[in-house]
Every structure is written in structure tokens, then in C-alpha cells.
């Protein structure tokens, strides 16, 4: 009996443990290779600053993947959100508050439509969200062709707001104390991680996501409304893509059709590295968070190790994804036996 319990522990948490270990190994590796740069707290915080949007969209991606679905439209949605908000703020002199509402609404709209097609019409999530991705990218161009920086004062003010993290500051070369800071997006990301961790752990809806992903037929037999659950998963993913898009927008401060390119890929990779199974039913928001951190750390290592040409980033992410996919596949196949 005891043995069995032990095995179940390994089964559910093995992937998470691997992820956290991979992250720490990588970060230690970075410190060894790159030296002091990575020892500064601000370096770590900058990773957070640059990836807050990715953390948020990855949370949504994990939820959809736990229900055994996928959503590759998130990058497109983020770009569309950036562009719409940028146009609204600059050309229509809009308020920051309304721009946030717009972002959320765009995300929700994608979530609702894609969720409906997947859950209630039974269309493959990949096809639906592939169309969603192309639609969002196309719409971004239709909204405005040329990239531009937002000059709206209120927005620029919000963008440059820095939240000081006490106690992590360092002395700079001149011996002056410099505060460590994070951007507002990071606060939003952390809140969302906490909220969705709790949602998945302690809410009925969260457990229904797992049940549906584990075995759809069984979930139905157990009295779960499978269609509604899948719909809500896509809805949440769309919503988080909208919010993530706004945080991205807040970080870059401009609208462009080529924004957030490859974000869907990074989000999927982060979720998978974080221990979410493609086959559904297994996954964890904390794991996803570490997935994002691992991914961005290795990207930092690659770029600061002299491979700063743009193409290395894509190759690195793809390589990581490939390795983890194969590991997952091997583990799953062994389990079956």
C-alpha cells in the first residue's frame, strides 16, 4: 500500500519537480557562465518584467491544456489587443481605463467564439484556434498597418510606473544604492498566478477541468457538464490572453502587427515544460510559472553567450519544447506499460 502511495506521488509531481529542478540548475548555470550579472536580483526581476505577459497567457494556456485542448490564438490576440488599445489611446484620445476594458472584451470575445466552436460544435481546438490566430493577426493589420509608439500621457505614466521591491536593491558602480523594481504587469501576473492556482486547486470548476481532461466520458458519467467546462476553459484562456495582451502592451508601449509573434509557442512550451500534459488532466499553474522562468532564463543565457542573433531564440524555444515533448511522451508510454 505504502509503495503505491509513493508511486502516485511521483506520478503527479514528477513533472513539476523536474521543472523546478531544471529552472534552478539553469539559473545556477547562468551564474556560473555569465558571472555576477545573474547574481543581481534586478536581473531576475527583469526576467519577470519582460515575461509578465507570457506568464499570464501561459496560465490560460495551461487551463485549456488541462482540459485536453489547446489554443494557439493567444499571440495573435495579444497583438490585436496592443494595436486596438494603441489606436484607441492615441487616435481617439481614449482613457486608460477604457483601454483596459477594450483589452478584456477582445480577449473575452475570442474566448467565447472559440469556446463555443470547440465545446458545443465539437470542432478540433487546434483548427479553431489556428483560424483564430490568423484572424487576429489579419485584423491587427486591418485596424492599423504601421507600427507606432503610444504617446498618451496617462498611459506612458502607467507604463513607466515602477514598483520598488524593498531589500533587493544593490549598489551600482558609483557606489550609489539603486532600488530593485518591477513593473505593474508583474504585480498583475503574480495576482493572476495566485488566483488561478487557487481556482484550479480549490474550486469545483477547477477540479472539473482536471476531470474533463482526465477522461471526458467518465466526467460526463460523473455528472459534470463537460461542454460547459470546456467552454469556460477556452473563455478563461481568451480572457487571460486579453489581459496578457494588455500587460504586453504596457511593457512595450506600442502597437504593431508583428507584436507577440511566437507568443503562442512560448506559452505552449512553458506549459509543457511546467509539467502540463498535452493529453490533458495533469498540470499546475506553479509549474507553468517555472516553465516560463526556465524558458526565459535559457533565452537570456543564449543571448548573453554571444548568440544574440534573433534566430537563436526561436531555435532555443523549439529545442526545449522538443526535448520536453519527447520526455513526456516517453514517460507516458512507459506508464501505460
Amino acid at each position: 500500500m505504502k509503495n503505491k502511495n509513493k508511486r502516485s506521488l511521483t506520478k503527479s509531481n514528477l513533472l513539476l519537480i523536474i521543472t523546478i529542478a531544471v529552472f534552478f540548475l539553469m539559473y545556477i548555470g547562468a551564474i556560473i557562465i555569465e558571472g555576477q550579472g545573474f547574481l543581481k536580483p534586478q536581473t531576475f526581476l527583469n526576467i519577470l518584467n519582460a515575461n509578465a505577459a507570457l506568464i499570464i497567457t501561459s496560465c490560460g494556456m495551461s487551463i485549456v491544456m488541462i482540459t485536453a485542448g489547446i489554443d494557439i490564438s493567444v499571440g495573435g490576440v495579444a497583438a490585436l489587443v496592443s494595436m486596438c488599445c494603441a489606436v484607441y489611446l492615441d487616435f481617439h484620445d481614449g482613457s486608460v481605463f477604457m483601454s483596459i476594458i477594450i483589452a478584456v472584451l477582445i480577449g473575452l470575445a475570442f474566448g467565447v467564439v472559440q469556446g463555443f466552436l470547440v465545446a458545443y460544435l465539437g470542432i478540433q481546438p487546434f483548427i479553431v484556434s489556428l483560424a483564430g490566430m490568423f484572424f487576429a493577426r489579419g485584423m491587427t493589420t486591418i485596424v492599423n498597418t504601421k507600427p507606432f509608439n503610444v504617446a498618451n500621457e496617462a498611459f506612458v505614466g502607467l507604463k513607466s510606473t515602477r514598483v520598488v521591491v524593498p531589500g533587493l536593491g544593490t549598489l551600482n558602480k558609483l557606489g550609489k544604492y539603486v532600488d530593485a523594481y518591477v513593473e505593474i504587469g508583474v504585480i498583475v501576473a503574480i495576482l493572476i498566478v495566485i488566483v488561478f492556482f487557487c481556482l484550479l486547486r480549490w474550486s469545483k470548476l477547477g477540479r472539473h477541468f482536471y476531470a474533463v481532461g482526465g477522461n471526458e466520458q467518465s466526467a460526463l458519467m460523473l455528472g459534470i457538464n463537460v461542454k460547459r467546462t470546456k467552454f469556460l476553459a477556452h473563455l478563461l484562456c481568451g480572457l487571460l490572453a486579453g489581459i496578457g495582451g494588455y500587460v504586453y502592451f504596457l511593457h512595450v508601449g506600442s502597437g504593431s502587427a508583428s507584436h507577440a509573434s511566437g507568443m503562442e509557442m512560448n506559452a505552449i512550451a512553458s506549459s509543457i515544460i511546467g509539467g502540463t500534459l498535452l493529453t490533458g488532466g495533469v498540470g499546475n499553474i506553479i509549474g507553468t510559472l517555472f516553465g516560463v522562468l526556465s524558458l526565459s532564463t535559457i533565452q537570456n543565457i543564449v543571448s548573453s553567450a554571444g548568440f544574440d542573433q534573433a534566430w537563436w531564440t526561436g531555435i532555443t524555444v523549439a529545442g526545449m519544447l522538443c526535448i520536453f515533448l519527447v520526455i513526456q511522451s516517453v514517460i507516458m508510454n512507459r506508464k501505460k506499460k
Binding site: 460544435l121 489556428l130 489579419g138 493589420t141 534566430w311 526561436g314 508510454n333
Partner: protein, 366 residues
């Protein structure tokens, strides 16, 4: 009296079987586009004889444009149809692997110098190397799908992201330019022939696949594996190999399409070459009435579907839609297509039809 009724129902049946036929979908879509243009602007169908920049007498007009620029798509549709049928998923990396194949061709032709005065290798050698590269990419996807049993779309997501970076890396991010005129023959015109060469290449590929389907069991094997893997295995097939093979064939198609793409402009733009073509290829397969979940396929319908998509693209261009905005319109078409072919929607429609019939009958009785 009875005879006429029987005849009538024969006609109805013939009509039904036509509508029920897969190929009806792309033909209907094509007719729709044709009618649209006949009403809007019949000059769409005009074909003129003119001279191009190289001084050759060539045909021009929208129809020629469709036949010309639809070539890559038609070639890809061949491979995509096989992959879809065998694996029940689609390869979304074709655009990125075209970039790889194109980059390989330029690399071989230019050698280390990015702007050579003369070709460093025969074109045929460059093409063969590109074929190998394309098939390797296909094999990579194929192994992930067939051996590691990863969903095709996720497995191909890897090359989808990395492909263009790899393409840039192959040429050290330089942009080789080929000055040799013979290289343009593949993407433009052969002197003296007024029809663009890509069309001939596409037709050659169609011919090859038609012969392969006729003289081998490829169709039977792929359909069996796509419909029922377990049963195929018990009948001596190797499902993993059949899936792998379909991806390798697609890789070959990608290499051919890559040759045409780079030959058209004699150089390459890594981030733009064959952009969004995966969407069009999937759309062609779907428009051909092939189930995206795998199983039976109709190659003719897919290829016809490819040209219909190109027709749609050309139409949108004609109405001054920007190329970056095209995907938005096509995405709507994709969704419309999959929604109409979704089993659940079909069921609902059938139910509705039954109800209407019932009501009619009830009305008649009353």
C-alpha cells in the same frame, strides 16, 4: 404514371449523388467565385498576350495569375492531403520548411559567397539537396508523430517556430542573390513559352501523384491507417511507417514548392517567404471536403481546392486587400467550412430537415 415517378426520383438521386460527392464542394465554391466576378467585373476573365520585362511574349491576366501563383499551394495540398488522411492532423510547419528548403537551394548555388557571378553548383544538385532537406524536416515531424505519438499540430509547431530561424542560420542571415537567368526559369517563364513554368511543375507533381496512387497501394494503406490503426496493424500494415511516409512525401512537396518560391525572386526573405501558406494548404484540404480528422481522401478535390483558395486570394488582392490582412478573411472561410462539416452541425441540420418534412406531411394530411 409510375414510370415517370421512378424517372423523377432517378434524377433526384443523380443530383443527390452529385451533391453528396466530395468534389462538389470545391466546384460549388469555384462557381460562386466565378458568378461573383461575372457580376462585378467580367474583365477578370480576360487573358492578354503581352511582353514581360525580360522581353518574352507571355500571357497575362487574373486567370494566369491564379494558375501561376496557385502552383506551390497545389503541390503542398498533395502532401497535406496525405498527412491529414494518415495522421488525422495537419502539418503547420510547411511555410517554415519552405524557407529552409529555399535557403538550402541558395546556399548550394551560391557557395560561401552571397552574391556570386556564376552558379557554384548545378541547379539540379541544389534542388536534390533541398529535397533531402525537405524530407529530413518531414522525417523529423514524422518521427515525433508516428514514434512519439505527439499530436501532429503540436509536433509540427516546433518547426513552425524554429524553421525560419534555421533557414536564416543556414545562410548566416545573409540574403544571397542569384544573377543567373536560368534559375528564374523555374519560377517565371522559359523563353518562348507563354505560360508560367510553375504551372507545369505543379501539373507534373499532380501527374506523379496520380501515377503513384494508380500503380501503388498508397491510397489503400493511408486510408486504412487513418480510419482504423488497430485493424490496419492486424492486416500487416505498419501504421507508424505509413504516417512517417506521408510526412516525408509532404517534405518532398515542400522542397519543390521551395524551389519555385526562391526562383520567383532569385533571393529569399526569411520572414516573408511562403508566409501563412500552411493556412492555405489546410484550407485547400478542408475545401476539398476531406475530413480533417483523417480517413478517406479525395486528391482531385484537394488540388481543385488549392486553386479555388488561390482564386479567392487573387480576388481579395483585386479589391485592394493588403496581404497581411488576407488571413483574417481566410480564417472566416475556414471556420465556416469546419462548422458546416462538423458532425454535430450536420446532425442538427438533418434533424431540422426531418422536422420540416414531418411538418409538411402533417400539413398535407390536414
Amino acid at each position: 404514371m409510375g414510370k415517370t415517378i421512378a424517372k423523377k426520383s432517378d434524377h433526384v438521386n443523380a443530383l443527390k449523388s452529385l451533391i453528396g460527392n466530395q468534389i462538389f464542394i470545391p466546384i460549388a465554391a469555384l462557381l460562386l467565385l466565378v458568378i461573383f466576378h461575372l457580376i462585378m467585373d467580367p474583365s477578370f476573365f480576360a487573358i492578354k498576350m503581352g511582353t514581360n520585362s525580360a522581353g518574352n511574349a507571355v500571357l497575362s491576366g487574373y486567370l494566369i495569375t491564379i494558375l501561376d501563383s496557385g502552383s506551390e499551394l497545389a503541390i503542398l495540398a498533395i502532401g497535406m492531403t496525405l498527412v491529414t488522411a494518415a495522421s488525422g492532423g495537419q502539418d503547420i510547419s510547411v511555410g517554415a520548411t519552405i524557407a529552409i528548403a529555399g535557403s538550402v537551394i541558395l546556399r548550394v548555388l551560391c557557395g560561401t559567397n552571397s552574391r556570386p557571378d556564376s552558379l557554384q553548383a548545378p541547379i539540379i544538385v541544389a534542388f536534390l539537396v533541398a529535397c533531402v532537406a525537405g524530407m529530413l524536416c518531414g522525417a523529423f515531424n514524422g518521427i515525433l508523430v508516428a514514434k512519439f505519438k505527439i499530436q501532429p499540430m503540436v509536433a509540427t509547431l516546433i518547426l513552425f517556430t524554429a524553421g525560419r530561424s534555421i533557414a536564416a542560420w543556414i545562410n548566416n542571415n545573409e540574403l544571397p542573390v542569384i544573377s543567373d537567368k536560368t534559375f528564374t526559369y523555374f519560377g517565371e517563364y522559359i523563353p518562348g513559352i507563354p505560360i508560367p513554368t510553375p504551372f507545369f511543375i505543379a501539373m507534373a507533381c499532380v501527374l506523379v501523384i496520380a501515377l503513384v496512387l494508380k500503380f501503388t497501394n498508397l491510397r489503400l494503406y493511408i486510408q486504412s491507417v487513418g480510419i482504423n490503426e488497430g485493424a490496419s496493424k492486424l492486416n500487416g500494415l505498419n501504421p507508424a511507417f505509413v504516417k512517417f511516409l506521408s510526412f516525408v512525401i509532404l517534405g518532398l512537396c515542400v522542397a519543390v514548392a521551395g524551389l519555385i518560391k526562391v526562383s520567383r525572386i532569385s533571393t529569399i526573405n526569411y520572414s516573408v517567404i511562403a508566409k501563412d501558406i500552411e493556412m492555405d494548404a489546410i484550407l485547400a484540404v478542408a475545401l476539398g471536403g476531406n475530413a480533417l480528422g483523417g480517413g478517406k481522401f479525395n486528391m482531385t478535390a484537394s488540388i481543385l481546392g488549392a486553386y479555388v483558395i488561390q482564386c479567392l486570394t487573387t480576388t481579395l488582392y483585386k479589391f485592394n486587400v493588403q496581404s497581411d490582412a488576407l488571413p483574417a478573411y481566410k480564417a472566416v472561410v475556414v471556420i465556416a467550412l469546419v462548422v458546416f462539416s462538423a458532425p454535430m452541425v450536420k446532425e442538427k441540420a438533418a434533424e431540422l430537415g426531418k422536422k420540416i418534412k414531418k411538418n409538411k406531411k402533417a400539413g398535407e394530411v390536414a
